[in-house]
């Protein structure tokens, strides 16, 4: 009942649809009738005509029609709109009554049935006396009708029936009960719809016709009423454009009414109704801007129409409802496809509605304080249980005079309303509206608006004394304000939250909010902080804290008893509060003094604490927990230690801890997992705990600001003993690293190392320890983690007397070297043999034990080697050239060299190495040349291994070393044609130069060859420019050309293009390689003469 006075009536909010009554259907016992009725009601989708059907008995009494007024002359209207009117036309007065009657055309008892039908029609007509409601008859028939005009009996009997029932032919329908029932029904209802529209049209005409009888002085209310009715009938007729037009006129008329205190509510109520209709239609017509404009206009017009001051809350309630219902309309339109934006969405309307509800609550609290203790609702009771007209007072219905007819009654009436208002659950209404708004703002990306509304919701819950919900909401948004750093707002929220926590005696929450309100983010005044701190200390002593200001006295007394219950409770008195995400009044920053410690040094850990509260605060225990919990025992400070454990306001206090790391932790990280501070002792213990190395929600930003600040330099200088808090950095982890070894390891070697050489690296180890280094071990060899091939091509040995074999490992591990006395020196040679070239990183690792500490040391060296070069070779006879380039810094003696061929054969007989006994200095090169031929291969276009080149060499005094160089693989191509040219080694300018091309067919097929010579600037030539010829398998063709050089110097010969038209994909480009590209053309003496004579001629 609470807010229902302000709810819009459902008949206003629904979509008006034509009302058609169906009679003569027995839907309970007759299956055929039931099926017909179901076909009418089921599946009423948007494509069906908008009709609301109702089954009524044949003798149903319709609302009586009042006798028509012939003159309005003495008529004084009692109100604007009757409360029952809309419902009457939606649900009670049909536009059309349809009589269903079972009758086939060939019924044997036709006469009797016809008259029975006529009687039934007559009964309906009588009960509709005076109404314009249409009547129609539907004959339910068992047989499928014949096409119109064919059944003569039917048309004759139809005419007779119409006559008997006094019906027009258009109002008689036949419904064959066959398979296609739904199809027939849809056709029927379309016909009904037409009848209904005609009915509403005549109703509109009827209402319009009253207008001429009205006069502007006494019938102002009727103008509004009639426009509203016309608009409503238009809506029933589904003529929404005209409906909108009439509603708009009605709206302006309603504001022309003379408004005074007694009828203000009626005017506003009607204005609200009409506004609702207009906005609804505008949204329906997809003109949301019109709707918004209309609503704004409506609000502007009505905002100031407060009416009776004693009932000011009514205005607020009405305003709230206006915003709410507009918001709902807007939201509904969005669901149907309208798009809203961030700055124009339903949320704003819900928010404003909530705002007015808050006003309403405030006004209700002010106005409804007095009143009888036994509220009498008597003045609000009416005979009928409801009002006759919308928006009137129950105790003076129908009165339209400016002054209330009975002053006494008026007073009791108002009082009764005030008393009723007192019981309205305002907070509930406000919260519902706010949560609607929150949902909207969430949708339209307004996170801050959402937070703000949630704060309001929390406050409302607080007022409604639902502290748990209030805290839940406030707690949720607090962190948003904290991260946004709006301290003023955060403080306001915390203050409310603290009140909630106090009133529900929630100890933990109370302590948390106290701690944050005392912190540096709080904008509270000093005396407030001081009061809160005293309360906090009281709670820590297990005493009841003082009440928060601005709490009402009744809740304070309940809170007191709650607190004392809680305090006397045995149970655990220990609380742990994680403060990392708050901004507590005690700040903590902890650091390891260094990011790494050697294992033989004590680890230094510092904890800085600082209190921001107005009074000193003392604590009883400080503990740092570390990732290795074994160290925790060293990082505890307890009150028994007699150290100063009180923190002064605004002063930084430093606590030092130190401990020795265990040797197992060498190479590991030690992290601080948390810092814990215990407040209070007997009574109640609160562990304030920070994760990691302290810091809180605001410290990161403060550190950033401090880093940016220019002032910090000065600040640090002037206050040496107390470091600047903000620029203190945290160091939450430290590395335990091994002790610095006191041993020197030196490597002596002369890079580069040569391939296959037994390369010697000298290692000198000297102890600088005070004591004896025992158990010295050497690990030497290739550093692991390099290319996997290197470990197979590198061999390390300690034995330098002979060339080591492939079995030698790449890395010698843990070679025992015995003990080293202080200052003792030890030398060792390590030989390295590398079989492949490339840089290598070697690892030398010396480990020894001293006292109890194990130490190690690494030294790294690099090796280099020289590398041979590769060439590409083709088939046919070819030359293989090997270049040996010495990149060794020492002279190398080449002993011998030889080729080991695989697929190739040598074209020349084997002879002695050309390089025997050659000494190569650094950078010198020795070349050897071999003429080879590749025999025909079975598989073409594949790579063929050439073979190996063996070189025996040695440097000054090392053993003879044989290096094997694998020669590069060559790609073998079998070519269909082989071409070579015969031409002199040079030509002369303007002297004929004959060139003979030999073209050989190397395949077993006859080859067709196309040859063309491209013109060249440097030559004239004679011979076949373009020719096509055939070459038999194995035979060759010769082509002779006479080239005539025109220019001197190296000249490109005319290009010979050869193509095989039979096999176009053969790469003839490879053929060009066999042909000389250029020739040197010498200048002739005569040419020079010619040149001079020509010059002479031009000179003349």
């Amino acid at each position: 009942m609470a807010g229902s006075q302000w709810e819009l009536p459902p008949e206003l909010c629904c979509r008006p649809m034509a009302f058609v009554a169906l009679t003569g259907l027995d839907v309970v016992y007759n299956a055929v009738h039931r099926a017909i009725w179901d076909a009418f009601c089921a599946n009423r989708r948007a494509d069906r005509v908008p009709i609301s059907f109702k089954v009524l008995p044949g003798d149903h009494e319709y609302p009586k029609c009042r006798t028509k007024r012939t003159s309005y002359e003495w008529y004084i209207p009692k109100g604007i709109l009757k409360t029952g009117w809309m419902n009457k036309h939606l649900n009670l007065v049909p536009a059309l009554v349809v009589l269903f009657y079972e009758l086939d055309w060939d019924d044997p008892q036709w006469k009797e049935k016809q008259s029975e039908c006529a009687t039934k029609v007559e009964i309906v007509r009588t009960s509709l006396q005076g109404r314009n409601t249409k009547v129609a008859v539907v004959l339910i028939q068992k047989k499928t009708p014949l096409p119109p005009g064919e059944d003569l009996v039917a048309s004759e009997r139809a005419a007779a029936l119409c006559n008997a029932c006094d019906l027009s032919g258009k109002s008689l329908f036949v419904l064959p009960h066959t398979d296609h029932l739904v199809g027939y029904i849809i056709r029927l209802e379309n016909a009904f719809y037409e009848h209904a529209q005609t009915y509403y049209y005549t109703e509109i005409r009827r209402v319009k016709s009253h207008k001429e009888f009205l006069n502007k002085t006494t019938h102002q209310l009727l103008f509004v009423r009639h426009q509203f009715k016309i608009a409503f009938f238009s809506e029933l007729k589904q003529d929404t454009q005209n409906a909108l037009k009439y509603y708009r006129t009605a709206y302006s008329l309603v504001h022309e009414l003379r408004a005074h205190e007694t009828n203000m509510l009626e005017i506003k109520t009607m204005a609200g109704f009409i506004n609702y209709k207009i906005c609804r239609l505008c949204f329906q017509h997809n003109t949301p801007l019109d709707a918004i404009a209309q609503f704004r206009k409506h609000i502007d017009l009505c905002k100031k129409k407060i009416g009776s001051a004693e009932l000011a809350f009514e205005h607020a309630a009405w305003m709230s409802k206006q915003f709410q219902s507009f918001g709902e309309l807007f939201d509904e339109a969005i669901k149907l496809g309208l798009t809203a934006i961030q700055t124009q969405n339903p949320g704003f309307y819900y928010q404003q509605a909530a705002c007015y509800s808050q006003d309403r609550k405030q006004q209700a609290q002010q106005l409804c304080q007095g009143g009888a203790s036994h509220p009498s609702t008597e003045p609000l009771d009416t005979q009928s249980g409801g009002l006759d007209f919308y928006g009137q007072r129950p105790w003076r219905q129908g009165h339209q005079s400016i002054d209330p007819p009975d002053a006494e009654k008026e007073k009791t009436g108002i009082l009764a309303l005030q008393i009723k208002e007192r019981d309205v659950p305002h907070s509930e209404l406000i919260i519902a509206l706010l949560s609607n708004a929150v949902a909207q703002f969430k949708k339209y990306k307004c996170p801050r608006m959402k937070s703000h509304l949630m704060v309001q919701m929390g406050e409302e819950y607080y007022h409604a004394k639902d502290y748990t919900k209030a805290l839940k909401l406030l707690d949720y948004v607090m962190c948003d304000y904290r991260t946004e750093r709006w301290w003023g707002l955060l403080t306001a929220i915390l203050t409310t939250a603290l009140r909630c926590a106090y009133l529900m005696a929630s100890v933990k929450d109370y302590i948390i909010y106290c701690m944050e309100l005392l912190g540096r983010a709080s904008t509270l005044k000093e005396e407030q902080k001081s009061r809160i701190e005293k309360n906090l200390i009281r709670v820590l002593m297990n005493e009841v804290p003082d009440a928060e200001p601005e709490c009402d006295s009744s809740s304070i007394s309940t809170a007191r008893s709650l607190w004392s219950d809680r305090m006397s409770l045995a149970g655990s008195k220990e609380l742990t509060i994680e403060v990392q995400d708050y901004i507590p009044f005690i700040q903590c920053k902890a650091k390891f003094q260094s990011p790494s410690f050697h294992v033989d040094q004590p680890i230094q850990l510092q904890v800085y604490l600082r209190a921001d509260c107005p009074h000193p605060v003392s604590f009883n225990k400080l503990a740092v927990s570390l990732s290795n919990q074994e160290y925790n025992q060293w990082c505890v400070l307890e009150s028994s230690d007699h150290r100063n454990m009180s923190l002064l306001p605004g002063k930084t206090k430093l606590y030092n801890f130190s401990f020795v790391a265990k040797t197992e932790d060498v190479g590991k990280k030690i992290e601080m997992t948390g810092v814990e501070l215990m407040l209070g002792s007997e009574g109640r213990c609160v562990f304030v705990s920070w994760r990691g190395a302290g810091g809180d929600a605001a410290s990161a930003h403060e550190a950033l600001q401090a880093g940016r600040s220019s002032r910090q330099w000065g600040r640090c200088m002037e206050a040496r003993q107390e470091p600047d808090w903000d620029s203190l950095s945290m160091q939450h982890s430290t590395m335990i690293i091994s002790r610095v070894p006191k041993i020197s390891v030196q490597l002596g070697h002369q890079p580069p190392a040569l391939n296959n050489e037994m390369y010697c690296i000298n290692l000198t180890i000297q102890s600088q320890e005070q004591g004896i280094a025992t158990d010295v071990k050497l690990t030497a060899g290739l550093k692991p983690g390099q290319d996997a091939n290197l470990s197979q091509t590198t061999h390390v040995t300690l034995d330098g007397s002979k060339v080591c074999d492939d079995a030698a490992p790449a890395l010698l591990t843990d070679v025992p070297l015995g003990d080293l006395k202080p200052g003792e020196k030890l030398e060792k040679c390590v030989f390295v043999k590398c079989v492949s070239n490339g840089p290598r990183v070697f690892l030398f690792h010396v480990a020894y034990s001293i006292d109890t500490t194990v130490e190690g040391r690494q030294i790294v060296c690099k090796c280099h080697k020289f590398e041979p070069l590769d060439r590409l070779v083709v088939d046919i006879p070819f030359l293989l050239m090997t270049d040996i380039l010495s990149s060794s810094p020492w002279p190398l003696l080449l002993d011998s060299s030889s080729l080991q061929l695989l697929a190739m054969t040598s074209n020349t007989p084997q002879r002695q190495s050309q390089l025997q006994e050659v000494v190569l200095q650094t950078g010198e090169c020795a070349s050897e040349c071999f003429c080879l031929r590749c025999p025909p291969q079975t598989n073409s276009n594949s790579t063929v291994a050439t073979g190996q080149y063996l070189i025996s060499w040695r440097s000054a005094d090392s053993p003879l070393i044989q290096t094997t160089v694998t020669l590069p693989h060559v790609i073998l191509e079998s070519i269909p044609l082989y071409i070579h040219a015969e031409l002199p080694s040079f030509g002369r300018v303007r002297e004929s130069l004959s060139v003979r091309y030999h073209i050989e067919n190397r395949t077993a097929l006859v080859q067709e060859v196309e040859m063309a010579v491209e013109p060249s600037d440097a030559f004239m030539f004679s011979g076949l420019k373009q020719v096509r010829l055939r070459i038999l398998p194995g035979s060759e063709q010769q082509m002779l050309y006479n080239y005539y050089p025109l220019m001197a110097g190296y000249q490109t010969l005319p290009q010979l293009n050869i193509s095989l038209p039979r096999c176009p994909n053969t790469n003839t480009h490879t053929l060009r390689r066999f042909l000389p590209q250029r020739i040197f053309v010498k200048v002739t003496k005569s040419w020079k003469c010619v040149l001079t004579t020509e010059l002479a001629v031009t000179g003349i």
């Binding site: 704003f348 705002c355 307004c446 801050r448 707002l489 940016r708 002032r711």
Partner: protein, 136 residues
């Protein structure tokens, strides 16, 4: 009437007259940032640097008008005025913002001011007070 300017969304300076009900204005300014951020991100996509600093009326409330202005370095200025104050047109608001911006630049040029700290400047106070008195 209420002036604020802020960077990185926490307040650098807030002042309101009359001082009662100050909290409500703080909330109004804070919530208006939703719109400011949305506008900045929308503009950022289309026009790049050629941005109009003045954002105009941010959103309508029943009682107040909220205007916004964002500098190129994303420092936000918000002015809240009473809806009934009709003497303030768009142009006046625009020039007020420009004045604020100039004064803010002066504050930033002060070598002793640490950017990001609350603004404590007599000159800036003076400018703000002047505007508040002028507009009533």
């Amino acid at each position: 009437m209420n002036y604020t300017s802020r960077a990185n969304n926490y307040p650098l300076y807030i002042r309101s007259v009359p001082t009662q009900n100050e909290l409500k204005f703080h909330y109004t300014v804070h919530t208006s940032l939703d719109v400011v951020e949305e506008k900045i991100s929308a503009v950022g996509k289309s026009l790049g640097d050629q941005r109009e600093l003045y954002l105009g009326l941010l959103y309508p409330t029943e009682d107040y008008k909220v205007y916004g202005y964002v500098t190129n370095s994303k420092v936000k200025f918000v002015i809240v005025v009473d809806s009934s104050n009709t003497s303030l047109r768009d142009n006046e608001i625009r020039s007020m913002f420009r004045k604020l911006h100039n004064s803010f630049t002066d504050v930033m040029c002060n070598p002793f001011h640490n950017p990001g700290d609350q603004i404590q400047s007599k000159a800036f106070d003076g400018i703000v007070s002047g505007m508040m008195v002028q507009t009533g």
